[in-house]
Amino acid sequence: MIAKLVISLMLFAFSSGGDTVSVAFARTGSRSDAEETVSSREESDIDIAEIIFEHIGDDYQWHITEWKGKHIAIPLPVIVRDSEGWKVFSSEKIIHGETYRGLKIDPEKGKIVEASSLRRPLDLSITKNVLALMFSSLLLLVVVLLTARWYRRHDVLREAPTGIARLMEPLFAMVNDMARENIGREDYRRYTPFLCMVFFWILFNNYLGIMPFFPGGANLTGNIAITMVLALCTFFTVNLTGTKHYYREMFNNPDVPLFLKPIMPVIEVFSAIMKPISLTVRLFANMLAGHIMILCMVCIIFVMAKYGPLLSGGMTVVSVLFGVFLDALECLVAFIQAYVFTMLSSIYIGLARTKGE
């Protein structure tokens, strides 16, 4: 979907005047006649919110691009359990507002509901995000297993890494060192697989999310369900493998003055619960904001199209420049967020592995 916008973005970058703009986007119109402008405004107004939410949200089909007026989209399987039992069918049957087997897509929320009661059934459909998830997981599996294969077949003490191992080793070394520094030399090895998993998972999905064309472009790490699962994994890892000292400090810290004793456990438990929430929101909000900013930059082109060739042409240049800048920024943020999430996870685990003074 973003591909559509990027192609038009490039088109604008190469066109110097507003004429091309008005030709290519005649639907939005740039007519000079005042009356016509007024009358056409309503039909040509672009609902930016809708465009943006369409791009960052989930969908029952994977819309790839628009080619000669036809939508090219991959229909995805709908898996639903409603009052009548399990139902599995292709999303093609309902995607354009039809009702199929008592189910339809609620135009307000964009989710499948029971046509009669508008109630949400248990919806385990393979949506666009789920497919993107599967794809990125497959990619992650292949990349990591290929890397592991290199290490299995070569002697690291004699050979420098080559090929994919050379590409991945700095990242693995980074996560490994992070784990060692934050968790401690004795038991960091138990946690490195989890931290590596979190880091590479976020990294892969962040970059796939920035990629504007299929099979990237799904806003996975900007989806609260995804980041929530990741943060819950950290939460359980921290609290299920915490030491006695960690829990003693939490519930009965000997260093706390007597009058604070009843309050401190409450605060500590609250902070333990806040940690995964902050992890969830930090990653989700950062990635979502990045996507929205880029989309807004691209939308400026379409919004400005009706204000005449000069203004829209000028704003196009500005928005392309800002778009490129924001994309570069997003590439940076994608890495930083993966790093920060992993870093904080390792610090939380390290705090829970305290051995006491």
């Binding site: 919806d123 998830l133 599996l141 297993l145 998993m197």
Partner: protein, 168 residues
């Protein structure tokens, strides 16, 4: 829009997929990689420690070497000094011995010359004595040719001899 309400379906799939991938990679992927990295890290740390040790040892060796060189130089100088001293001593003593020898030879020669001179003088005086005896003999012979004279002389001689005997 439901941006902040997690979708149940996505939660379910995320948990399942994340769990499966995590298990697979935990079993076959990450440990071998991190183990290899740790192994190499340990080797590198060990090598660095070894290198430092070797460097320290090398520095020590270099110091020792320099010190030994210095000592050897000092010894060399000492030996040379001693050698030249000894040489000078030998020359001096040789000179002294030679001088002594020369003095001795000179003294011997002087003594010899003296002795020869004495001999020569003795010879000359013996010769003179002989000549004078012979002259005296000739004079006596010519004087004692007549009897009276001879008797008179003989008596005088005996007198003189007896006088000297009595005096003894």
């Amino acid at each position: 829009m439901n941006l902040v309400t997690p979708d149940a379906g996505l939660l379910f799939w995320m948990t399942v997929i994340f769990g499966v991938v995590l298990l697979l990679l935990w079993k076959f992927g990450f440990p071998i990689i991190t183990y290899s990295l740790d192994k190499r890290n340990r080797r590198i740390e060990q090598s660095l420690r070894d290198a430092r040790e070797i460097q320290d040892r090398m520095e020590q060796w270099t110091k020792d070497h320099a010190r030994m060189l210095e000592e050897t130089r000092a010894q060399q100088a000492e030996i040379l000094r001693k050698a030249s001293e000894t040489g000078n001593g030998i020359i001096a003593s040789a000179r002294a011995a030679a001088k002594e020898q020369a003095d001795k030879i000179l003294a011997d020669a002087t003594a010899e010359i003296e002795a020869r001179k004495q001999d020569a003088l003795n010879d000359i005086s013996r010769e003179v004595a002989e000549v004078s005896v012979r002259v005296a003999e000739k004079i006596l012979r010519s004087r004692l040719s007549d009897e009276g004279e001879a008797r008179h002389y003989l008596d005088t001689m005996i007198d003189e001899a007896s006088k000297t005997d009595m005096l003894d």
